[in-house]
Structure formats: C-alpha cells, structure tokens
C-alpha cells in the first residue's frame, strides 16, 4: 500500500502512524499507569533487597496463587464497568469448588467436577443478576447478603470439615492446569496456572474491547437510558456480567483446590479485599462506563507482590497491612493525576 502511494500520501501515512502511538497510549492510559506503577514498585523492592528480588523463585512463589485472583478480577472489571458491584464472589468460589472437590473425592472425573463447578458458579451469578436487575435490589447489599448466605450454606453442608484430594496429583488435568511447563531455572518454571490466567486475561481484554458484549457493557454503565434507547437489552447485559463473574469465581475455586490439594470451608474467604483492591488499583474507576481488564490483572499482581516485598525488605509481617493501604492509596493518587475523570 505504501509502495503505490504518492509522496503526499506517504507523508499522511507517516503522520497517522505517529499519531497511532499517541492514540494507543491515550486509549490505554489507565492500564499503562498501573503497569508503570508495578514496575516502579518492583524496582523499589529490588533496591531494598537485591538478593531476594533477583531470584526467580521469589517471582514463582507469587505466581502460584496470583492466578486465583486474576480469574476473579477479569469478570469483576465487567461488573464495575456496567455500573454494578459483586461482593459475593468469595463464597461463590467456595461453593463452586465444593462441587468440584466433592465429585473428585468420590472418584469422579475431574473434568466432570470442573463442569459442575462452572454450572454452580454460573447459576449463582445468574441468581445475583436476578436479585439486582429483576427484583431491583442494591447490588452492594444484595451481593453482600449472598456472600454471607452462601458461606453459611457451606458451613451447614460440611459442618466445618475440609476435603483433601491428594489423588489428583499426577492426573492429566492437574498436570495440564498446574504443573510447570516453561522452565526458567533448574526444576522451576512458570506455573501453568499463570499461563491459563494470562490466557483468561487476553480473552477478557478481547471481549471487553472487541466484542459487542463488552462494548455494550461499556454503554450500559455509561448511560443506561441512551443504551436502552439504542436497542441494547440493558437488563440482559447486566445479568450476563453477574453470570460471567460466577464463571470466573468457579475457575478461581477449581484452581485454588488444584494448587492446595485441599478444599476448606473457608476457601475463597480471604480474597474479597485483595481482589477488589487490585481491581481499583489497576485503573478501573468506581463510577462505571470505563475500565481496564489488563490493568485489573496488573493491579492484582501489585497487591500480590506487596506482602512478599514487605517481608523481603526486612520488615516484619506487622507492616504488611500498613503497606497494602499505603500502596493502594498511592496508586489511586497516581491514577487520579494521570487519568482525569470525565464524570
């Protein structure tokens, strides 16, 4: 195309390409900001403790559990962009992975277990959607209620007992999902779950920006009246984001059990605040209409590295929460000055 162009046309193409980079950085400003923040933070940690942060095993230890958060944060970006919130995901993780672990524990095929977990997650997400969209409850309160209700249901079902499935080790599905395939140093590679989480992030980015579902989520969160006027089924779109979160929570639950070989009645419980913090640190604002899936995954990585970094820097565990808070607030200030809100 460039070969056949005239001189003037070539100039024009060159200018468009130059503005292409500017446009790209403008359109992805939030994700770029959080990525820069992660890099700066890691440089800071490395300066504080070069020995720990120059070793691959430090990064690997974070990458073992980080994927669980990524499977949650990706669909949550859709929920928040649609102008909703879902606080029930920790218990959905618990209940969906209970379905998985029960089937495997009784000698069932792990694939059947995964399918069951996905069904449970999708159904619970659908239930959230009905409560919020059709019955018209506040998403904040309704999903908070669901979180307690479902955790209570788990406790009633198992009466405090956990379920271990050590037999899953060595099975094809376990190898596929959680072994190390890409080796970095001797006997240590990137855990497969990290690759799956990256693939899930890529799928999320594609759905969010290039698929009509994601684009409609943007429009619904930005101006629901206008979206309805233009023929978008606003209720259906809103219910679907809750279903998507249920599916993400089911995947997070399956990976969590696969990594630990144990299902506890508390599985998923500790995820609420770190995942939400990662979501907002990543650059998705609270008011709906815009967000970033890639930034969400970066944000959860920032949160995941804080604890390792604080300990490695020679501080005691007492400092962890202090730095959680500090880094979350700093990164939001970072986003604020680089973002510029339009609403």
């Amino acid at each position: 195309m460039i070969g056949s162009a005239t001189g003037g046309k070539q100039k024009q193409i060159a200018r468009e390409e130059a503005s292409g980079i500017a446009k790209w950085s403008r359109n992805n400003r939030r994700a770029i900001t959080s990525t820069l923040f992660l890099i700066v933070m890691l440089i800071g940690f490395t300066m504080a403790n070069p020995e720990v942060f120059s070793q691959f095993k430090t990064y690997r230890s974070v990458m073992i559990a980080l994927p669980v958060s990524i499977f949650l944060v990706v669909p949550l970006v859709f929920v928040v962009t649609a102008g909703e919130i879902d606080l029930s995901f920790p218990s959905v993780v618990g209940l969906a992975s209970y379905a998985f672990v029960s089937i495997v524990d009784q000698g069932g095929d792990p694939l059947v277990g995964i399918a069951a977990a996905l069904l449970v997650g999708a159904f619970l997400g659908f239930l959230n959607g009905i409560l919020v969209v059709r019955i018209g409850l506040s998403a904040l309160v309704a999903t908070l209620g669901m979180n307690f209700f479902l955790r209570g249901l788990i406790n009633i079902l198992v009466e405090g007992f956990s379920i271990a499935i050590p037999e899953i080790r060595g099975s094809f599905i376990h190898t596929l999902l959680t072994d190390d395939t890409i080796m970095i140093v001797e006997n240590q590679g990137i855990p497969n779950q990290m690759l799956w989480a990256l693939a899930f992030t890529a799928l999320g980015v594609f759905l969010y920006n290039r698929h009509s579902f994601g684009v409609r989520v943007h429009c619904v969160g930005d101006n629901p009246e206008s979206a309805a006027e233009m023929g978008i089924d606003v209720d259906r779109t809103r219910i679907l984001v809750f279903v998507f979160t249920g599916i993400g929570a089911a995947l997070a639950g399956v990976f969590s059990v696969m990594i630990n070989f144990v299902w506890w009645p508390t599985t998923g419980d500790g995820l609420l605040l770190p995942v939400l913090a990662g979501l907002f640190v990543g650059g998705t604002p609270t008011w709906g209409g815009i967000g970033t899936v890639f930034g969400g995954s970066i944000g959860t990585s920032i949160v995941a590295f804080i604890e390792t970094g604080v300990i490695a820097a020679g501080l005691t565990g007492f400092f962890t929460q202090f730095f959680y808070g500090l880094i979350i607030i700093l990164s939001l200030i970072f986003q604020r000055f680089n973002g510029g809100r339009v609403r």
């Binding site: 446009k23 359109n27 290039r210 698929h211 009509s212 579902f213 684009v215 409609r216 943007h218 429009c219 930005d222 101006n223 009246e225 206008s226 979206a227 006027e229 233009m230 023929g231 978008i232 209409g289 815009i290 339009v342 609403r343």
Partner: protein, 258 residues
Amino acid sequence: MNSEYLIELRSVTKSFGNVNAVDGISFGVRPGEVVGLIGDNGAGKSTLIKILSGVHQPDSGQIIVRGREVRNWNAAKSRESGIETVYQDRALAPQQTITRNIFMGREIKNRLGVIKVKTQYEEANRLMREIGFTSKVFDPDSPVATLSGGERQGVAIARALYFDADLIVLDEPTTALSLVETAKVFGFIENVRARGRSIIFIGHNIYHVFDVADRFVVLDRGKVVMTEDKANIPVAEVLIKHMQEIAELGHAADASPA
C-alpha cells in the same frame, strides 16, 4: 392522496385523561425540508415528538408515510419508516468514543459478535466528514466527553444518518448552547438537508428556529395555529409578533390557515 410529503399527519389527536395534549394536528414534511416546530411549554411539542417516534400511539387520525397510511403505529414502525429522534440529553454515552456512540446497539460485527473495528472506524470517519466535522483535534476514537455541546449534537445526528434516517427529529438541539455551538449545529443540519434528508427542528427560541427552517409550524394548546413558509416571513420579529398574537387570542390575526 398527496404524496409530495415524506411523512404527513392528518387530524392526529392524543389525550391523557381530560387533557387534549394533541388536538387534531395536521402537517407534513417534504423530502429535504427543515420544518421548525415552535410552541410554548405545554403546546404539545413533546407529545407530538413521542407520537412521531412511536412512543405514544395517536388516539385518532392518520399517519401517512410516502403517500401510504401506516396503521398500528409504534416505535418499530417509526424506525422502519426512517424516522430517528435525537433527544437533547439522553442521546450519548460521554465516556465512550465517537465510534462507539454512533454504532451503539447496532455494531458492525461478524456472526460471533466480534466487532469489525476498522470498518466501524472508517464508517464513522466518513459520516463525520459528511455532516461537516472539520476539527483535527479529535477523531472517531476520541471520547464524546471531549467534544463541545454542538459537536455532541453532531455525533447524535451522524448516528441517525448511519441508520439511514430520512427524517431526523431534533428535540431542542440548541437549547443551552452558545452562539458558536449553535452555528455548528446549524452547519450539521445544512449538510443533512443537502443530502436530501428532512429535519423537524423543535424549539422555543424563535431566533434559533428562524435561521435554519424552511417552514414553520406553530403549536398552541395542542393545535396547529399557523403554518408558514419562510419566504413569506421577512424577519424573525414578524414571527414573534404572530406568536404573541397567538398567545393572546388563541389564533393568529393574519396568518394563513393551518
């Protein structure tokens, strides 16, 4: 049957309880014509818009599109007939790009729902040029929030054009806009007319409507009290005088019959 009109209303009525919001209105819009629909608050303008866009069904009367009566009028038939309504505040999603706003709800996509981003971008670029966007400061990927009020009206008009609207109904498009911004909207309207499309421009600022319309339809208490070509009205003040008489007498003293 008179087919010089793109769309014609004949003796259309609509009442809510005892209130005759629209009380036997008849008027037509020709292809490539800009009709200024003027009236004070409560004259029946918004009810008439909602009838045109199919939100309300008339109680009685006929709606004739291209010489043929359309029965059981509703929103789908309004859209099928090529009518798009642009509401002042509700039209756009401000944080989304111009492209996303133009294709909202009717994206160009393949069977799997994957959006053809490049096609949409080029189509948006073409539409923006067609209605007269000249600024180099923004492109189809710019968020609508970065545009001025008049330019936002332009995006809404471009969207109506993309849907192949033959008649675009603009509800108070220049209310709350500065003079410069109003001029921009007029520029967009001129380009739409030049393409042979029709516009109904609804407003209560007579000066705004006067500059851009080919013909005026004045409403008062649910009735058309005056229909006049611009050629017969030398300056806006004459129209204002008519309007004042209408407000005082309930009809114009020397206007041609509706």
